[in-house]
């Protein structure tokens, strides 16, 4: 598409994004403000992730886009097609083949490798927002490492529910300094944030924030000594398609009579396991 600049955005915008990304990498977990642009998709559809991806893409990249782990949902398909058109990059569904992976709400099951970039779409980047609505105040709280309120909030969960009642967007502490919202990934994925081989970038388009986790960064999920963090998923279930007991599962309603099945949320992981099993059966 020669009518558009490479990767859609103009060069001045990309430079602004690139400067923000570099500062984000230099201060892991800190939210760098940036001047978010209007994108040809509504806020909430991954405009932050799309802008970060556009700023990072090179023509030689292979792009994978997932939405809740799946390559074939509307959001993932439309973003993948967008970059195929405006950046002419190769695309893939396979985690291991991709050099950049844009994701909404999951980290792939296949371990990421060095050189890969994982771009998260983030709706609400500020982990303290629901505790303190004023941006001026949350900024001071981050500056002073005044994170007691977050611990109180987790404690209140335990007092009320007997456990920390947060299944997704579970807050983490980065390198012992900034508390960060890992975007609405299930807390099952939190351990994958820690000491990852890949560079992890987070883009919030509506809120105008970019933050980052360089590779090999210490990321701890907040907890208490007597209530340690646990990465949970649907208990006692295996994937109905590939039989995996270790992957994160989606519950799918199959009829209106209470029928349901559990399947891997990561479609690439599931499909590659099914393919390997059918090969074994054939052999």
């Amino acid at each position: 598409m020669s009518a558009y600049n490479f990767a859609y955005l103009d060069e001045a915008t990309k430079r602004m994004l690139r400067r923000a990304i570099l500062k984000a990498v230099a201060i892991p977990g800190y939210q760098v403000p940036f001047s978010s642009r209007e994108m040809p998709m509504p806020y909430g559809w991954g405009t932050g992730g799309v802008q970060v991806t556009a700023a990072c893409l090179v023509p030689e990249d292979t792009l994978k886009v997932i939405d809740q782990g799946a390559d074939d949902t509307t959001n993932a398909v439309s973003i993948r097609k967008f970059f195929e058109r405006v950046a002419d990059v190769a695309v893939t569904g396979q985690t291991a083949e991709a050099s950049i992976i844009q994701t909404r709400h999951r980290i792939p099951e296949t371990p990421l490798t060095e050189g890969q970039i994982l771009v998260f779409q983030v709706p609400i980047p500020e982990p303290l927002r629901f505790l303190e609505p004023r941006e001026t105040e949350t900024r001071v709280m981050h500056a002073l490492e005044d994170y007691g309120l977050m611990q109180v909030r987790l404690y209140e969960d335990i007092a009320r529910h007997g456990e920390i009642a947060r299944a997704y967007a579970y807050p983490v502490r980065v390198e012992g300094r900034y508390i960060m919202d890992p975007s609405p990934i299930p807390k099952f994925d939190n351990p994958k944030l820690d000491n990852s081989h890949a560079l992890q970038l987070f883009g919030a388009g509506r809120e105008g924030r970019i933050y980052a986790l360089p590779p090999y960064t210490r990321v701890e999920s907040l907890d208490f000594e007597d209530y340690p963090f646990t990465a949970t998923k649907a208990a006692g279930q295996a994937c109905a398609l590939c039989g995996s007991t270790s992957s994160y599962l989606d519950e799918v309603i199959t009829d209106d009579a209470g029928g349901r099945m559990f399947v891997c949320s990561d479609t690439d992981y599931c499909a590659s396991r099914v393919a390997a099993q059918s090969q074994e059966d054939a052999a």
């Binding site: 690139r18 570099l22 201060i27 023509p59 981050h142 986790l213 590779p215 960064t217």
Partner: protein
């Protein structure tokens, strides 16, 4: 006025994207040496430093040219290709020069507690850039990395101010290495 300006990127969008990925890779892996090819720079700027300028600097980012880099040839080139306002160290978002010309580090914006990102990035031209010397640990580094750094005490003091502090891009010819403020340093 110099008589002849050297060209910028042949294909600004794609060359700029490739250059940025090298800078990003370096910043995400402190101590790792990346290469930036394909740009003829006006003396005394290295090709790597020139590529960084074209990739990150524009009319919204005040630039400080330190020492010998503050010459007519480079001023014209920067003005034509980037439009960056040329300023002193205290106002600069980016600064370019040799280590001795750039100092002292306290002259630059360090960021503030609420906005630690509002700090300068220094592009430091070195005669020698290689693996070896000071030991680097921290985010982006699996175990340890080594890099020939110009002034360990000053850089250690910079890292101690985290989350405030400066970020460094070291250049030598076509080569580039980065040292963000998050990297912890010690002597070999």
């Amino acid at each position: 006025m110099s008589t002849q300006l050297t060209a910028g990127f042949t294909d600004p969008a794609r060359d700029g994207a490739r250059a940025f990925r090298q800078v990003l890779d370096a910043m995400a892996h402190p101590g790792r040496i990346a290469t930036l090819d394909g740009l003829q720079a006006p003396a005394p700027a290295s090709p790597a430093a020139a590529a960084i300028l074209l990739t990150l600097v524009d009319s919204t980012t005040p630039l400080y040219l330190a020492g010998a880099h503050d010459c007519a040839g480079l001023r014209d080139w920067v003005g034509f290709h980037t439009g960056a306002p040329l300023v002193g160290p205290s106002e600069a978002t980016f600064a370019l020069g040799t280590w001795d010309a750039l100092g002292p580090l306290s002259a630059y914006a360090q960021g503030n507690a609420e906005y630690p990102d509002r700090s300068a990035t220094l592009i430091v031209e070195l005669d020698d850039l290689r693996t070896g010397g000071a030991i680097l640990t921290g985010p982006g580094i699996e175990t340890e990395a080594q890099l020939s750094l110009p002034d360990l005490p000053a850089l250690t003091a910079n890292a101690a101010r985290f989350p405030l502090g400066l970020d460094f891009l070291f250049t030598c010819g076509h080569r580039l290495a980065a040292l963000p403020r998050s990297t912890r340093l010690r002597a070999c």
